[in-house]
């Protein structure tokens, strides 16, 4: 028996086929482009997503040939927060406004004033960031009233694909959590907030659990893609929830640290333990009854990419620049010889929730080389993640180890830096398929391949390496982290001032 996991990301879609023993038989991907019609805008056409999904599903059935009959279920993981607006005929009204689109900062401020932090946290347990669905919806209401009037339903990215595959309108708890109008604790849309903001709950879909079966795939779709007629689609989950699931992080005490383009620190909790100040996101997990606290660093691996592609533009090196930087950075001592990096290249979420702040190096000396800078970028990103860890300690959900995923774990150096900066053992995984694996596990459970998520995880998630922290490095990093935190307080006014000057000149 087989399940298919699909991760609908921003840069592309990825598909894996998983067998009942947890082996990944096949994987494939298809890239997406993002449109940035104005600074701070970020959009994609949902029908491009669907075309991409059909392509990878087609490849999967071609690969399986006769074995395609063994496919029991499909599950999707998806980029969060994006607003997909569809009309009564089920057609997309305008391009989807994505999670990293920041045009709705005025709406965000308006909500904060209108509702207030305390009530937001009481009603939906989260603060309304520009990235969340709610401010985007209000932006459309204010700026594109004609489009707003056409809205029949507001879907999240992967839910639009589920709709195209099955014809059913629904969402599930883990993705609904990122809208800022879903009461995570009560597991339902917040009628109170919707009525304060004069939004109708009619435009919102029904909310399922992640392993719930949405429906059997539409016969026409099954035929077009050469999939079995009885293949079902499960509700799936938000990419962060699925990545955690695909890393086996479903219980309290476990923590996932993901260093991809962005970075996250995610820790499940069965109950209500969360940060009363709203510095961490508090979302439903893909496992029924579980929630998680999550801190987000917007530019994690992206910071290193920026360094390579922008700062070192046309840098002449025949080999792999990342490998080179890793090697150079490995020869630099802990702390990069007195160099600090702030990774706020696109503002920051946790813990600052501030779109105006910017990145920077502090402590540069003529003696520093690319190795110092590369290392300080890895260290700075890890310090920024530690900000989330410290909040978790404050609310008593401190982990005793972290599972490192997302791509950062491929760098031996960065894995050690995480262990040393966190003072925690770091585990890496063998089947490192992240969110797509989580989606495939959800599909496997929904499709009856496994009894429950534990069985799916047990089969498919295997620890690869364990990296223990080095005590003297950890002590040294404590000093640097302390400086990282304290310095930001004095630096922030300058960063905000520079933002304003740039906007005004």
């Amino acid at each position: 028996m087989l399940s298919i996991g699909i991760d609908l990301g921003t840069s592309g879609v990825k598909l894996i086929i998983l067998d009942e023993n947890g082996n990944v038989l096949f994987k494939t991907g298809e890239p997406f482009s993002v449109s940035n019609p104005h600074p701070g805008w970020s959009e994609q056409d949902p029908d491009d997503w669907y075309r991409g999904v059909k392509k990878v599903l087609h490849r999967a059935s071609e690969y399986l040939r006769n074995d395609v009959e063994r496919v029991k279920a499909i599950g999707l993981s998806g980029q969060m927060h994006g607003a997909v607006l569809i009309d009564r005929e089920g057609n997309v009204i305008r391009p989807a406004i994505l999670w990293n689109d920041t045009r709705s900062y005025e709406e965000r401020n308006w909500i904060m004033e209108r509702v207030g932090i305390e009530d937001m946290l009481r009603m939906v347990q989260n603060l309304p960031l520009e990235g969340f669905t709610l401010p985007k919806l209000l932006w459309v209401k204010r700026n594109e009233s004609k489009n707003y009037e056409k809205i029949w339903k507001v879907l999240l990215p992967k839910d639009y694909i589920n709709f195209k595959l099955t014809g059913r309108i629904e969402t599930e708890v883990s993705d609904a959590s990122g809208t800022a109008y879903f009461d995570v604790l009560k597991q339902k849309w917040s009628d109170e907030l919707l009525s304060i903001l004069s939004l109708s709950s009619d435009i919102l879909p029904e909310v399922l659990q992640s392993t719930d079966v949405v429906a059997t795939i539409l016969p026409s779709v099954a035929e077009e893609l050469n999939l079995p007629q009885d293949c079902i689609v499960v509700a799936g989950g938000a990419d962060n929830a699925c990545a955690a699931l695909g890393s086996g992080v479903t219980e309290e005490g476990m923590t996932m640290c993901s260093i991809g383009s962005s970075g996250t620190l995610l820790s499940p909790t069965p109950g209500f333990k969360r940060d009363e100040k709203g510095r961490l996101h508090f979302f439903s997990h893909a496992k029924r009854g579980m929630n998680y606290n999550m801190g987000v660093v917007l530019s994690a691996g992206m910071s290193l990419n920026w360094f390579v592609h922008n700062a070192l533009r046309s840098f002449d090196y025949k080999g792999d620049v990342y490998e080179l930087l890793n090697e150079l950075a490995s020869n630099v001592p802990v702390g990069s010889e007195g160099l600090l990096f702030y990774p706020y290249l696109n503002g920051e979420r946790t813990p600052h929730m501030n779109a105006k702040i910017r990145g920077g190096f502090i402590g540069l000396s003529l003696r520093h080389t690319l190795g110092n800078m590369a290392r300080s970028i890895m260290e700075g990103v890890t310090f920024a993640l530690r900000d989330s860890l410290e909040i978790m300690k404050e609310i008593n959900i401190a982990p005793s180890e972290v599972i490192l995923v997302g791509g950062g774990e491929k760098s031996k150096l960065w894995s050690h830096i995480v262990a040393d900066v966190f003072s925690l053992p770091v585990k890496t995984l063998k089947n490192n398929e992240g969110a797509a694996l989580g989606a495939a596990i959800l599909a496997g459970v929904g499709g009856g391949i496994w009894q429950n998520l534990e069985e799916g995880i047990d089969r498919s998630v295997k620890v690869d390496r364990i990296i223990e922290p080095d005590r003297s490095n950890a002590e040294r990093y404590n000093e640097y982290y302390d400086l990282f935190v304290r310095t930001f307080l004095s630096l922030r006014p300058s960063l905000e001032e520079l933002f304003d000057i740039r906007m005004q000149t």
Binding site: N310, R313, G338, Y342, L345, R358, I362, H368, L491, F499
Partner: protein
């Protein structure tokens, strides 16, 4: 045979240049030799003197060969040099004991602290015209005494870099007033001699200082038989003392009057103004000028790194540009300039503090560190490069501001000399940031040109310092753009604020960053 030609050699931090000019100031030939500073730790900077000796001898020889003139037609040579900090510590046989701690070195922080706690600020300022910082040579001498007692015992004297080279050329050991004055702390600026009192207070025996102090245009000695073979000059050719590179570069730009101010922008910035000794400031550095040495004082301030950072950026980030440079012979700096040309003033939100080697005036903070803030995903290499050029320009403005605050009167234009003048983009930025029209010199010369003049005056083939006025030709003046100036005014406010808010962090980083793991 008529003496028709003069030689000037400037021993810089990163290279030595020798030029030959005729008596009308026309450059006949030149040669350059590049080297690097030894930086064993952050904020340390030192050099073995043989590097300078070799570069000086080589470039003299090459210049003479290129000029194709008879050595007998050369009237004389003068040498200027980087500020050698401690000077080269030598033993009785005049052999170096350890590398020279040059001006850029900032390690003597304990010694500075000791002076601040134990020596009356007014007293040291009253006698020397200067205060204390690890920039000054006397603190570096104290560092060797405190931290390397074994070396200290062996020390016969401290010889400045160019005086060490002159010793190798002539066998004579002397120094000039500007070089002696620049050591600070132990030099009496009014008496124009070592201060016995300050030597006692600071614990530096007067015997470790050269006994013979001459004027910059005085002849120290003559080319010896041995050195003649190595440098290609005739035995007996007069060698004139010269002085510290920054004032000699000012002289090369024709500065003989009060209020004239010149920024020498090379590895670092020395922005200086000439006056009669009435505007000394504890925030700035003062010592006798290299012309009219007995009356005029040169007061200057300066960023510890300027071109040094640009070079650092080229070496770290400019792999491609360097390759094009090698293949097509177009300077990597020019290629970087071209990319940065269209970047808006303020580099679209990036602010750079250029304290990559600590900072001299006006903040005098050896623990200050380079800072680059305001980075976003949007920014690319060209923005960072332009932000570096701007950051250095803010540091010049900071010094000019300190000079004006201490009462110095300044001419309406600022003259700029040094390697940086090759970048018109940078000159435009300096003008827009400071608001001063910038005048540059057509001849790509600077300090060696001033040396040649001193050689001419010293040997008597030129009748007056004033001949420099006939020699110098200026380029078209670059005027500031009001709109750009307005933008830079805002960034400059942030520049000063950012240092104030980051200074404690920089100190902490410099402390934990220098511990070897």
């Amino acid at each position: 045979m008529a003496k028709e030609y003069l030689l000037g050699t400037d021993i810089g931090t990163q290279g030595t240049k020798t030029i030959m000019v005729d008596l009308k100031g026309k450059v006949v030939a030149s040669a350059f030799s590049e080297y690097d500073v030894i930086k064993p730790r952050p904020s340390w900077a030192e050099q073995w003197p043989d590097v300078w000796v070799k570069a000086a001898f080589d470039t003299i020889k090459e210049t003479v060969q290129k000029a194709n003139v008879k050595p007998s037609e050369i009237a004389g040579i003068a040498l200027s040099g980087l500020y050698g900090g401690s000077g080269v510590p030598v033993d009785k046989d005049m052999n170096p004991i350890r590398p020279c701690l040059i001006w850029m070195d900032r390690r003597a922080t304990d010694e500075v602290q000791w002076v601040k706690e134990n020596v009356d600020k007014d007293k040291i300022f009253e006698i020397t015209g200067n205060y204390v910082d690890s920039y000054y040579g006397f603190t570096k001498m104290m560092w060797i005494r405190n931290k390397e007692p074994d070396n200290w015992k062996k020390i016969y004297q401290f010889i400045t870099p160019k005086d060490y080279v002159i010793y190798k050329l002539t066998g004579e050991n002397a120094t000039d007033l500007s070089s002696a004055g620049n050591i600070g702390g132990i030099f009496d600026i009014k008496k124009r001699n070592w201060s016995e009192e300050m030597c006692k207070i600071l614990g530096i025996p007067i015997s470790v200082l050269p006994k013979r102090i001459v004027k910059s245009a005085d002849i120290v000695g003559k080319i010896s038989k041995e050195s003649s073979k190595l440098c290609g000059l005739l035995e007996g050719t007069p060698v004139v003392a010269g002085g510290i590179d920054a004032p000699v570069a000012s002289l090369s730009a024709g500065v003989l009057e009060e209020k004239s101010h010149v920024a020498m922008i090379g590895t670092s910035i020395c922005w200086g103004v000439v006056h009669k000794g009435q505007h000394l400031s504890p925030k700035l550095v003062s010592f006798p000028y290299v012309a009219y040495d007995e009356e005029m004082v040169y007061t200057f301030g300066g960023a510890a790194t300027a071109g040094g950072i640009v070079r650092w950026f080229r070496d770290q980030f400019g792999g491609k540009e360097r390759e094009v440079e090698r293949e097509l012979n177009i300077s990597a700096y020019r290629l970087l300039d071209e990319q940065a040309e269209d970047v808006l003033p303020g580099s679209e939100g990036i602010l750079l503090l250029p304290y990559f080697m600590g900072e001299r005036s006006p903040i005098w903070d050896p623990d200050a560190r380079g800072t680059m803030i305001g980075l976003t995903l949007y920014h690319t290499k060209k923005h960072i490069y332009k932000a570096i050029l701007e950051g250095v320009a803010y540091s010049l403005r900071h010094n000019i501001e300190a000079g004006l605050e201490s009462g110095l009167e300044l001419a309406d234009e600022c003259i700029v000399v040094g390697g940086a003048t090759r970048s018109r983009l940078w000159m435009k930025i300096f003008s827009d940031v400071t608001g001063y029209p910038i005048k540059t010199i057509t001849q790509d010369v600077e300090a060696p040109y001033g040396d040649a003049l001193l050689a001419g005056v010293g040997t008597g083939v030129l009748d007056s310092y004033k001949r420099i006025k006939d020699w110098v030709r200026f380029d078209k003046v670059i005027y500031p753009d009001e709109r750009a100036k307005g933008i830079y005014d805002r960034y400059f406010v942030e520049y000063k604020k950012a240092y104030e808010s980051l200074k404690e962090t920089m100190k902490a980083l410099s402390k934990i960053g220098s511990i070897k793991m």
